[in-house]
């Protein structure tokens, strides 16, 4: 299972602190996050709003100042890279955002939208640009004849296809997809996800797929990381995380997903906690539930529970009194 080659992306102890402002102390938005993504692999990053998943994606792309840790793409450390070299590395990493309405310039035709990154990164000679633009549109299932049209002439799903084509223009190796389908109707979501998968197979892309929709992530991701409070609380293969979730927060998230089966969903709703407050669970600083005393050993709050499956000992609710 483990390839001998180095991962395409390696994130180690990545941290982001938002500085204090207006009477509020500094906020640790991302707290020592670590994971690898192999070539051609999708890592799903799930969590609820405020968990730090979007900030993690932005920090990896160096769109967000990093306060600590390391991000290596294709073996190069991005966090310390001079600006000029970082600009060159940008052609290897792209992103697709949630809202296809605001991420396209309404005054730019499809052709201009797709030509711009080609020019910026000088990836193809001027004369070959129309050909490359046509190729990109074909990749994402659009008719190359649409080059002269403007974003408002397209549906949400078609716009997201244009956004994906723009991300692919420079031949990236790695794409951060941040809630790429959550603004779309369910049938369109399925189509865009199928497109992302087929592009991955065809072009060998790696994705960090950030989403709150766990059922969608199950269909997209090879491996899944669950974030809570700026930390990864569980990481494993999609099968491990969905079929044998170990962290109570992962289980809570999975239990809350509505399922399109009336009898089952009525049961699930009846069992849903009327309130949950994971923030209340403070770590005691004593021996953790896996029997380690991290304060004295200095080890990470991370425990391997299976091949490639790890779980954090933080944010567990107190054990029931006996």
């Amino acid at each position: 299972m483990t390839a001998p080659t180095a991962p395409l992306l390696s994130v180690q102890d990545l941290s982001v602190v938002f500085p204090a402002r207006r009477g509020k102390g500094p906020v640790q938005a991302v707290d020592k996050v670590s994971f690898d993504i192999r070539s051609g692999e999708t890592l799903g990053l799930v969590g609820e709003s405020g968990s730090g998943k979007t900030t993690t994606g932005r920090a990896i792309l160096q769109l967000q100042p990093v306060s600590g840790g390391s991000v290596q793409l294709l073996g190069r450390e991005l966090t310390t890279l001079p600006r000029g070299e970082l600009r060159q590395m940008r052609r290897h990493m792209q992103f697709v955002l949630q809202n296809p309405y605001s991420s396209l310039n309404p005054r730019m035709s499809v052709g201009a939208t797709l030509t711009e990154p080609l020019r910026v990164h000088r990836s193809v000679p001027e004369a070959q640009m129309p050909q490359r633009v046509a190729e990109l549109l074909t990749y994402v299932g659009l008719d190359p004849d649409v080059v002269r049209r403007y974003p408002h002439e397209f549906s949400g799903g078609q716009r997201q296809r244009i956004v994906i084509a723009r991300a692919l223009a420079v031949n990236p190796d790695f794409v951060v997809c941040d809630e790429p389908v959550s603004a779309l109707d369910v049938r369109t979501q399925a189509q865009i996800v199928a497109l992302l998968r087929s592009l991955q197979e065809r072009l060998g892309l790696s994705y960090l797929f950030i989403a709150h929709d766990l059922a969608m992530v199950r269909h997209v991701a090879h491996r899944v990381a669950v974030m809570f409070g700026g930390q990864i609380v569980e990481l494993g293969t999609a099968q491990q995380v969905f079929e044998s979730p170990a962290h109570p927060y992962t289980r809570t998230l999975l239990d809350a997903v509505p399922v399109p089966d009336p009898a089952l969903q009525r049961e699930r709703l009846a069992l849903a906690p009327s309130e949950l407050d994971f923030h209340a669970h403070r770590d005691s600083g004593e021996t953790c539930r896996f029997g380690e005393h991290h304060a004295s050993t200095g080890t990470r709050h991370w425990h391997r529970i299976g091949p490639g499956h790890g779980v954090s000992c933080r944010f567990w609710p107190p054990e029931p009194q006996r």
Binding site: D185, R218, V220, A221, H222, V257, V259, P262, R266, E275
Partner: protein, 272 residues
Amino acid sequence: MAHAEPLLQVRGLGARFTREGVTSRVVKGISFDIAPGEAVGFVGESGCGKSVTARAILRLAPEGSSLQLDGAIHYRGQDLLQLPEAQMRDIRGRRIAMVFQDPMSSLNPVMSVGAQIDDMVRRHTGASAQAARKRTVDLLRLVGIRDPARRVDDYPHQFSGGMRQRVMIAMAVSCEPDLLIADEPTTALDVTVQAQILRLLMRLRRELGMALMLITHDFGVIAGMVERVYVMLDGEIVESGPVDTLFAAPRHAYTRALLDAVPRLDSATRPA
């Protein structure tokens, strides 16, 4: 469902929408019933007319547009479409109430949530300021706000998204309406909060004996909440039926296509 007298009986409802001089027909002569205490779901994709149908019942035009309605909406022996606006105001919020997707845009940011609920209670019941405040605190407790006597003076921004939706629901049920219309009430919320709000709606429905019209694009949300479902496409109802039957054996190709597109939590993952 053998209910003698429907609470709401909609016949041939049509809605045209005028915005910036352009008129479009968004609801095309639909008919449906809601029985007293019944929970009914309306499901469809964006632009299918489900939200306009909900607003039509209260004769509320979406912002920046005007709404022309035809057909009939019978409610307790009267046709809401024929009612003078003054009487309609009496129905709105008192007999039929509505909660929307985005609680922040429906709350006044510079007024404490207590003052907003007080207003609502006083307008509809004529209660004294003191009695209204007592009712407001009771309502906040009813919707699961902890320590309501203290939170009542807080402002909307001091509440989380889920708590704001609870506040909106408190306002909506303040007059114990016969029918609560909830238009994508949990779409903007996190999945764990969504489950809590759905549970709250179920509990209130039971405790207050009100009917629920739930509008959503999410088949998972619909599945556990309602007894009957109407599927809308392009301003028309293309299929309706008891929720279990409709999910188990959808008859219309469109319903089947929508159900097939829903990602399942229990289906196979990609091998790592």
